[in-house]
Amino acid sequence: MSNIADRIRNLPSGDHTGAASHFARRAIEEGSARVAYSAVESPIGDLTALVTPRGLLALAFETDDLDRIMETVAAKVSPRIVRAQSATGVVRSWLDSYFDGRPQPVPGLDRSLITPFQDRVLAATAAIPLGEVRTYGQVASLAGNPKAARATGRALGANPIPVVLPCHRVVAADGSLHGYAGGLDRKRLLLDHERAISV
């Protein structure tokens, strides 16, 4: 007879993942989860959307350090974070429309990760018409601080909700793309896409 402890260790117990995702759904329904997230497919790679009852909190590229983002959210917003497809439907349909060439008004946002200065800068980028770009200096002026081009660049680089808050519409004074948290290829793809659908 085989060792009894080993037999217990090897007992088949079935899959726990169904129960784990049911838990996440119930946690959102009853309000004990404060932040929910899931992956969302897009033409610029898988994105991870983090939402709260107030709206979209953050959008991460697949090249971002998701663990670090989750830790920031846990510390600054709430550690009650669960993974659930059901919570990110609004973001998913907004992104689908946008990439299908039917951009919609900005969805509900949770600005907990956005500083007041950053909020002004990002509002200025949201005012740039689709298919157009502005320079860092121009956006700094629009945000009410013409001398703060560098700070503006930093605020844009730390945009927690890229694509939806279009920091990609800001380029260097010489017209070069300059930089993007998601990489210059993604910035180029987004600007090409917006030029194509704006005509």
């Binding site: 009894i4 079935g14 838990f23 830790e71 550690p79 974070i81 669960v82």
Partner: protein
Amino acid sequence: MNLPPFQRLVDQHARALHRFLCGMVGPDAADDCLQDTLLAALRSYEGLRHDGNLRGWLFTIARRKGIDHVRKHAREIPSSSPPDQPAQPEAVRDTDLWDRVARLPTKQRTAVTLRYLGDLPYADIASIMSISEPAARQNVRAGLASLRKELA
């Protein structure tokens, strides 16, 4: 100490918690007990003061859920397969062993399942069960001895 995102705890420990609950309440009820365990943990998560042993904290909650469930369903004998289900090879299901684990006295069942299904060290088992470490070892030994005798 900063609390990690709750989902990370789920990803790290849900499988072991589920196996532990299978031993405590049987495979059929383990899904519900796991959901209840995770919900209870999440509800009290924010502001939780912990010493770094979040796994032990989760198992403490799971143990309570498991014992509550067994008390509520005291007259039913947990079974992982309904009687009309065609018999499967022992090696695949080993339902007999599940049932026998489930019929152990509560303390022995808890200690044995924490050790071999939850894969926890004796220090954690002792703290989860609020008993001494030697007592935890003794409960595991007694549980195993009783199973060995029944299955011999």
